[in-house]
Amino acid sequence: MNPVTRERLLGFQHAFDDRVTVVLTLTVLILLLLTPLLIFIVTRVANSTRDKRKELWDRYRSWIWLALFILIPILAGAFWTILAVATLSFLCYREYARITGLFRERTISLIVVIGILLITFSVLDNWYRLFVALFPLTVALIASGGLIPDQPKGYIQRVGLGLLGFALFGSALGHLGYMANDWNYRPIVLLIICAVELNDIFAYICGHVFGHRKFVPNTSPNKTVGGALGAIVLTTPLVALGAHFVWSSTVLDTPVRLLGLGIIVSVVGQFGDLMLSSIKRDLGLKDTAKLIPGHGGILDRFDSLILVAPAVFHYVNYFVGFAAGQPQKIFGG
């Protein structure tokens, strides 16, 4: 392995080389430090009930853990980032398979898991051709694996669910991991995750403040047009500003293109959120699991990220490309 690759994969001493990383990390830490004060004031002023207070504190405690699970791998190195994304893919797929009942179809589930493992390998290896090839190949494998029980009844259901699972949690989320092959991946990945989470929060707050008209009442009764538009208006400039510093003096660094990136993050993020709402509503569930106190399941928290990852990846890849100058096929040679 060449020394540049080793530095990228495991070189934690480069954690704060980019100032956007420093700013974002500090922002997250400051927000986490200020939140208890904010919760304290809000609950006093609003005279909230005991349950509401407990929920807020539960959420806050969970956010501390989530922030650590996100920040530490990204700062530690690309290897840890890719591993963290793979873990996220597995956890999301697990929840998805359990709520849809796909987990009982052992063959298909096993193929999806193998698919996610192979995607992780191609990402770690910086082998873009394999990464691209794995989508159609896994589709073929799932469609073939569905034949093994020799039961045509329910074939479309189990194969369809398997394909959707792999497409969302293997392929789409894999793009987030692939970004770690860029030498300057830390600010990019951090910016996307922070922007997507902020986008959710903006939609929630704007929905409460300006929201009158229901957006998609059948899918998610609490979403309003005001919330959706408010999130776009607030998230887009923030992303554009961050991206301006990350990709300064590249072809992406024009106002229109930067704003385009911001709109993609905000709009696609909200679609991801609605996608999971639809899945849950179709199954008649409120949360996908009870894993994170105050939040629900892993999927409930990271739903917006799933669709954003490939959209941003290919938008940026179109203009500047990822992993420029980094050696490919690290393990294969």
């Binding site: 849809t100 009982r104 589930s109």
Partner: protein, 238 residues
């Protein structure tokens, strides 16, 4: 196209620690692998350390649901019975274990659920609904239960009378009960010892008993208990 028939896991909505203690628990891919692994390791250990011998293996039904009922005098009993099952049974084999021993603390219940795939039976204030849940799961998920109808381990190695609970699970159902007699586990690991002694262990498996025609009431239950008990006692003389 068929109407949609995939349902969410029955344990959806439980926190992880609730899930490990719940009868509604359904194993995923990783947990199934863990059961396969631990049952295989157990089988090897029993073969090496206890010269494990099984008589009447052919009596085990090809597929679930069925219940294996046996005498009980050691913690090794459940391990021996799950190890005696066929590999294809392992995924759906659940030893029914005392809740107050195997599901008391979080760590122990994680072990019982992941390594042994055990389901809890709370001996005090369990009520009929616990048995009703188990009965329901048995048929719906085509499970295999490993049950000790004596209710607890014999302190002197002698077999006690079987209790009604077993009858409540199988009366008026097509679920067969496979009687088995375990010999040698009392010598290997009696209730007062902590470390097993390498004594020879032998399991005799009898022909399955069918209780589809036995009424699901108190009388029927004790009839089932007696019938299974006498089959197990007969196996002891082999």
């Amino acid at each position: 196209m068929e109407s949609w028939n995939l349902q969410p896991a029955r344990d959806t909505g439980l926190t992880p620690s609730e899930r490990f203690r719940s009868v509604r628990r359904e194993s995923g891919l990783l947990e199934s692998l863990a059961h396969h692994f631990s049952f295989t390791v157990l089988r090897i250990y029993l073969a090496v350390a206890h010269r494990f011998q099984i008589i009447g293996w052919q009596h085990l039904p090809a597929h679930g649901p069925f219940i294996v009922a046996a005498n009980h005098c050691s913690h090794l009993d459940a391990l021996c019975l799950v190890a005696a099952l066929k590999p294809r049974h392992r995924e759906r084999a659940f030893p029914i274990a005392a809740g107050d021993v195997f599901f008391q603390t979080k760590a122990v219940s994680v072990f019982s659920a992941i390594v042994l795939n055990a389901l809890p039976m709370w001996r005090k204030n369990c009520g009929t609904h616990a048995l009703a849940d188990l009965r329901c799961k048995l048929e719906e998920e085509k499970c295999i239960y490993v049950i000790f109808p004596e209710g607890s381990r014999s302190r002197d190695g002698r077999m006690a009378h079987f209790k009604h609970g077993l009858g409540m699970l199988v009366a008026e159902t097509q679920v067969p009960v496979v009687p088995s007699f375990i010999a040698g586990t009392f010598e290997a690991l009696p209730p007062h010892r902590k470390i097993p002694h390498p004594a020879r262990i032998k399991i005799a498996i009898g022909a399955p008993l069918d209780f589809a025609a036995t009424p699901n009431n108190r009388e029927g239950w004790s009839q089932i208990a007696q019938s299974v008990e006498s089959s197990v006692r007969n196996l002891a003389t082999h």
